[in-house]
Amino acid sequence: MRKKLVALVLILMMLGTVAGCAKTGTQTGTAPDILKVAYLADPQGLDPQRTAAVATFNITGNIFEGLLAVTPDWEITPRLAESYTISPDGMEITFKLKKGVKFHNGREMTAQDVKYSFERLKGEDSPKAGDYKNISKIEVVDDSTVKFTTASLDVELAKAFCYPWAVIVPAEADANLKTNPVGTGAYKFVEWIPQQQVMLTRFDEYHGEKAKIKDIGLVLIPDATSQLAALQVGDVHITEVTGNQIKLLKEDPKFQVYTEAMNATQLLALNMENKALSDIRVRQAIAKAINKDDIINTVVWGYGDKVGSHLPVNYPDYVDTNNVMAYDPDGAKKLLADAGYSQGLTLKLTLPKSYQIHVDTGQIIADQLSKVGITADIEIIEWGQWLSDVYTAKKYDMTVVALSGRLDSRYFLKRYRSDSKDFVSLISGEVDQLLDESGKETDPAKRKEIFQQIQLILAEKLPAAYIQTPHKLFGMAGNVEGFRIYPIDIYEYKDVSFKK
């Protein structure tokens, strides 16, 4: 009996081998009608108004749409709105809705849906509700006109309507959006098998230009090396890759590589409530002791741009501050001696385990700091613990993390107000007034000037030592066209096609 069983198993295994060959053998040929994309982490449900997870927005950006949208080049364009006007005092924004927009359930979208969706976004269990507190009134003027009124002036109001959570959802699908999303996007939802895949298919009644590829298969591959392998054998067409993998793909004409600076800043946050770090000379010494080029070349294989202040390099308001506190270990030693730490200084460096890039960066920084006499005691903790201990309770001396940006500088920089209670903040208050001014200034050119001033102050006062704008790196099959990286957490697959 046992022998028979073993024989049976061996035969089955052999059959599997043969069938496996057959399957992988048929993958060449004409352009496929399904685009397969690998992703690393599962979405936290597919309701973009009930999560803060980037993994969710990456997917729902194709299913749901907002009144406005942003292009890869940071331009604001109407999407579900046909046009919009802002009142002269800047307190009201009125949207004229596009006609004939349908939800995936077949019903036409109306102004009521817009009102409903934004009330839902402002609702109790919406993580982003705080961002829309300032909207005090939502009025349905007529079937295709909606007016939003703000409590106080917000000069960047329009941008609030571009984000992947500021989307229009049909009330009747509300209860199940987390597992069965219904929107107006170019792709409609087919199925989600957690930790396995998400399937989308073209929405044929889409109001704009229809998606070029019929089906999208998003495949969860939790390991970076396996993702690359899947691309190499043709199981997926697009996958994120790491800097060391890029070389391999560049040498092979069957593949292409696409990289772009992220809308994010990697920094070494310095807790100004720590006694030593409250001394600006110590913070400046730390900044001068860090060789950013070394970090970028080792940790991300050169795929990063060093920064001297908080805004990423691709930000419209960016100003180059790299020379304000350039690498200068001797200067660092002198500053430390001036501050009374010529005998050395020990600080704790807390690193989030889930993010290898920050752990690696932290280890290099610790080594660089040791050369000027600062001992960094590394403590590596889990992301959940990082959020509660470092981010919320501010129990840390130094930590490496990346903060991702929004579309307006003010939102990105407001954590530096002395009263922000944020884990990284300029508690001495040097940028408070400028931040207030930027909120009232309606002239974009003048606003830009204010933001540049703030960047210069941060580069000198250093509530954090700024490291780099990391890049997003993608490996793609050679025949994929039209895939772009956006300044917010979305990828629009409707513009992607296969070269003939």
Binding site: L12, G16, T24, A52, V219, S226, A230
Partner: protein
Amino acid sequence: MLNYIYKRTSHALQVLFVVSVITFAVLLWIPGDPAQLMLGADATPERLQTLRTALGLDRPWYVQYWEWLKGFVQLDLGKSYLFGQNVSTLIAQRLPVTMSIAVFSMLMAAVVALVLGALAAIKKNSTIDYFSTIVIQLASSVPSFWIGMIFIVYFGIRWQWFPVAGYVPPQQGIGPYLASIALPSIVLAIGEVGMLLRTVRTAMLDAINQDFMDMARVKGLSGFTIYFKYALRSAMIAPLNVMGLQFAKLIGGTVVVESVFALPGIGRLILVAVEQRDVFLLQGLVMFVTTLVILIALLVDIAVMFINPRIRVEMQGE
């Protein structure tokens, strides 16, 4: 016999209870707030509080535990707040994957270990014995993620014999299904074969030196019958126990292999549940795995009983 069943069941329930309390307590004690993890870094304290209330996380731990226990005895494992689906559904989706690779890898490891282990013991200090020692050393020391990578590079990318990642359910074709679990099963089998092989060899050596073997030889039985019918059978007790433990370990999850081969198995689900502090999901998974482990231990005991008449006699005499 009834008495025995009663004893085993009451033991099992006690174990389940203790394990459930420990899981619950550990998840509450380790730092990290599920509400914060869900709402992300932008969340305000008020919003965090609202969510905690909505999830029932602001109630005392014993109330939360009692609620969970009430559901559990009615076989309701609750809902995962991470996925928004029933915990039992999530486990059911992953079970075929984990079961498949656990069964196949165990079978492969068992076949290799039994044949090689028995031969090594019979022909002690021969070439085959040395070969088995090398297999034991290599299989126990090479890390599974590395073997996984090597397999992917050669069998997946270079020769394209097997898919590099992902799981194909048997409903979509038995061939693709077996192909999708072949590499991970082999990798896991390699991880288990060393320990099992050593156990088989030692037990077999021990059996060969027993008195009843002389008896069998004197009776003039053939070598095959002597070794594979009598010696191996009496030598099976220790390997069976090892196999039970190994199988239980495989069911409990093999996070590394599941990640490398992108298999949606129990191991990765447990990992996500811990990382995201998804209490109900983790609790359900731990209960499920514990139940399976208890059942496997029971099956091993029964199997040993069938193999070894002496234990059957002791049972009856009890």
